[in-house]
């Protein structure tokens, strides 16, 4: 079903907001992760882990789910479709992958934040950091952004067939 222009713009604006917000939140998370690794100050390390947990659960996870949901709506509600173009299919796969890894990783972040809350200052150095997940996650989100901006050519077999069917119907 194709959305009305007004609704399409609203959903597109929401999708852009959630997606770019997701990237910004991961950058903030990464900064906290760097400070948890590099800082010698116990309060900073403890605060960084607590902030990483809060940012993860209350900002990154909701933004990821909202970006995924609005992405599905905008693609299915426009002529682009969900399975017609390779760039959309790959963007969808990468978004699902990033969201699943995020949801699997966040319980570990919560455990680390709990440990940071209760640890003595000298023990906080043993916590280490969390740079791999947000680093790779940010890279994946930037790839998705590039795909969405450049929209490289290439239709799937399904998209090729559907396009031909629609042309045949519109030009009998």
């Amino acid at each position: 079903m194709i959305m009305a222009p007004g609704l399409r713009k609203f959903v597109l604006a929401a999708h852009l907001t959630f997606s770019i917000g997701w990237i910004g939140a991961v950058v903030a998370y990464l900064a906290l992760g760097v400070s948890s690794v590099t800082s010698q100050d116990a309060l900073t390390v403890r605060g960084a882990w607590v902030a990483m947990e809060l940012t993860g659960w209350y900002v990154i996870v909701p933004l990821a789910l909202a970006a995924l949901l609005t992405g599905l709506v905008i693609s299915m509600g426009t002529k682009w479709g969900l399975f017609r173009h390779y760039w959309i299919l790959i963007s969808l796969a990468l978004t699902i992958l990033a969201t699943v890894v995020l949801l699997l990783h966040m319980p570990t972040v919560s455990l680390m934040a709990d440990a940071a809350r209760e640890a003595d200052g000298a023990d906080l150095g043993g916590l280490g950091g969390d740079l791999l997940h947000p680093g790779v996650g940010l890279l994946v989100l930037l790839v998705i952004t590039a795909l969405n901006v450049y929209k490289p050519r290439g239709m799937t077999r399904y998209g090729w067939r559907k396009q031909h069917e629609e042309r045949t119907v519109s030009q009998p």
């Binding site: 790959i90 990783h105 570990t108 455990l111 209760e118 640890a119 023990d123 791999l132 090729w160 031909h164």
Partner: protein, 60 residues
């Protein structure tokens, strides 16, 4: 109804993307099998960022 024109094939950039993706998946699998970063079991689970034993003792 007109015949379906021949499918032009999968674009080169998709093939390159797929090869890179397969390489990265293999890398992650190797890291998981060798006990490197990437597990999601938390403290005591044997993978991922894990607090030191002195840290976890405070939680008991």
């Amino acid at each position: 109804m007109a015949d379906l024109p021949p499918y032009p094939g999968t674009p080169r950039w998709v093939k390159v993307f797929g090869i890179i993706a397969i390489g990265l998946v293999l890398l992650v699998v190797i890291l998981l099998l060798t006990g490197g970063p990437g597990r999601h079991m938390g403290p005591g689970g044997g993978g991922g960022p894990t607090p030191s034993s002195s840290v976890t003792e405070h939680r008991l």
